[in-house]
């Protein structure tokens, strides 16, 4: 089974860890994942807007790519015919893959899970899965790490009964999946992450956590934790009691959290793995990430058309704004991404105005580059005991960001 060792427990909160010995095929590179880390978010296996040559240029990649059941479930026939797994099918044979049930970015529609199945939404419509069909899909996908099938349909306001059912069903799926995995041939096995449900009820979250922790899982996922699932105040209060019930030597993933301050809060509480969907959301709005993570690193927004003391930016700038139409400087003056090395804010503004596909390519290449660099900076901050300083710096920018 996969190994997770904590290399440093920070007095300011958060921990450095190393994931290794992940069950993999001979074609895949041996990877050590240094945490806190984000998994590469994909849609249909591709990083949104980026072809593989652009992806290969990105720094500080964790080495694990996140694939979702929802984007491939309608192509099950394709995958079974291919026989060599999703990583190879997508064109990334060397990458390790993490199979998530739902998309981190977009919650599945509410009310479509029933007693024995969970619904995933593919472009062509709804697919119902139980643990058997889920594992049959997983075997065709050949994912290295797999999030166990879970019922996460516990939006804010749903009944206690519904939440309890979600917890029970998720545990039942987990047991069935663990057994299926155990009985499979070694080459077909996968690392199973157990999923913690429980909606916004602390009692149910704790029950789910304790029960999941009893099972032989390789790691934990805290599901149904994003925006539509619970109030802001509830969210952060839940983390500490949940973490207390989890073993130190297994990684914890929080997939629906991506905003820069939220990431730090989650790490502070002891989470290790995230999904890099946030850059994709920012790109979709025509925005570019410009936040800094320390006073030294404070990247200058070389804005020629406005007075810098008038405009204090938050985490991102909106390149749709007319004020960038004649700004011939890069998004960030010392950023080494493809976009900042070759293009200006004025050009991106023009591409957005003319609705060119290239706008997404440039923005995404910058945004994901920035985000991966942020995670590297977080790891360095924990190492050098400057995490609290970083958090303060991020908090200031959080206050200035329009959400």
């Amino acid at each position: 089974m996969m190994k997770f060792s904590v290399s440093k427990l920070s007095p300011e909160g958060g921990r450095l860890g190393v994931l290794s010995d992940i069950h993999q095929s001979s074609e895949q590179r041996h990877v050590e994942v240094f945490t806190p880390a984000c998994l590469m978010y994909t849609r249909g296996g591709s990083v949104p807007h980026l072809t593989l040559d652009m992806v290969r240029c990105l720094p500080h990649q964790s080495g694990i790519v996140e694939l979702t059941v929802s984007s491939f479930i309608e192509y099950r026939e394709t995958m079974e015919g291919f026989k060599d797994g999703l990583a190879k099918f997508v064109g990334i044979p060397n990458a390790l893959t993490y199979l998530a049930v739902q998309d981190s970015c977009k919650s599945a529609a509410a009310g479509y899970n029933d007693k024995s199945t969970v619904s995933v939404w593919a472009p062509s419509g709804r697919f119902r899965l139980n643990s058997a069909s889920f594992m049959s899909f997983q075997r065709a996908a050949k994912s290295n790490i797999t999030e166990a099938l879970c019922d996460g349909d516990t939006r804010e306001g749903c009944s206690k009964k519904r939440i309890q059912k979600a917890v029970n069903k998720t545990l039942q799926f987990l047991d069935e999946i663990l057994e299926e995995n155990l009985n499979a041939e070694t080459c077909q096995q996968t690392e199973i992450f157990g999923v913690i449900e429980g909606g916004d009820l602390l009692s149910e979250r704790l029950r789910s956590t304790k029960e999941t922790a009893k099972r032989a899982v390789a790691g934990f996922v805290l599901d149904s934790f994003g925006e539509s699932f619970m109030k802001e105040e509830t969210r952060w209060k839940l983390l500490e009691p949940i973490i207390k019930e989890l073993p130190e030597d297994k990684p914890r993933m929080l997939p629906q959290i991506g905003e820069p301050l939220d990431v730090l809060l989650a790490i502070e509480n002891g989470f290790d793995l995230f999904s890099a969907f946030y850059p994709y959301q920012i790109t979709g709005k025509g925005c570019a990430l410009v936040f800094s993570w320390s006073d030294e690193n404070k990247k200058t927004l070389n804005d020629q058309t406005s007075k810098s003391d008038e405009i204090k930016e938050g985490f991102y700038i909106d390149l749709n704004n007319k004020r960038f139409a004649e700004d011939f400087s890069p998004v960030l003056s010392d950023c080494e991404c493809y976009c900042c090395q070759h293009h200006t804010k004025a050009y991106i503004n023009h591409l957005l105005v003319t609705k060119e596909l290239m706008a997404g390519v440039l923005l995404m290449s910058h945004n994901i580059h920035h985000y991966l660099s942020y995670f590297e900076a977080i790891r360095q901050a924990i190492k050098s005991d400057t995490f609290a300083l970083m958090k303060k710096h991020i908090e200031e920018q959080h206050m200035r960001t329009d959400r």
Partner: protein
Amino acid sequence: MLTPEKSIEIQNSIGADIMMQLDDVVHSLTTGPRVEEAMHRSIRWLDRCIKANKRPDKQNLFAIVQGGLDAKLRTYCVKEMIKRDTPGYAIGGLSGGEDKDHFWRMVTLSTDHLPKGKPRYCMGVGYAIDLVMCCALGVDMFDCVFPTRTARFGCALIDSGQLNLKSITYTCDYEPIDAECPCFTCQNHSRAYLHCIIHEAVSAQLISIHNISFQMRLMERIRQSITEDKFPEFIRSFMRTVYPKKNYPSWLTEALESVNVTLDT
């Protein structure tokens, strides 16, 4: 609204190596006096463009021959524009949905009269067979939105035609678009994969990369066959691939016969 002077002013500031006169284009299916009016106006505007060009030493201004589908008008236009001695000449007013039969006749008429020592640029072409045919008729340069536009609709180009990758035909087709294509897409991805991501923005890029590579390689193959004195052979072989049943359209056989190329029967 653009004037010839404004058009040239903008093109001078863009700084392109080749720039085009402002012409008065009418739809190729238009008939009546409007066609003649547009042709004469285009000549007058050519003169105004030449006068307005502030960078004749750095930028090459091409004339655009008009005249619709009327042989007399087109001939007159070509002869007048040749007198202006521009660095190159474009064949305009075609590629608008007219009969292929009329299209090739206007192309060949233009190339018959245009000077041999200057580039001839057929605007808005196009499909692979049109590119091959026009080269046979003496055209040197082309431009077209087709390869990238059709890519955005999920269509990949190969010699024998098009692959509509949205179709379920490709769900289990693990081959690349073209096994012999050296482009990034064919080196890294299969038809089945492109089918899976056909609704993602990146699929438009990947298919565009392939389609542009296809067009570039086609032109390279044409040039190579001309260099090796095997161009007629190339044309015959290419058309056999496009029409495996040898049911060539009559406009194609006639156009090629006019330059002494006979297709296989």
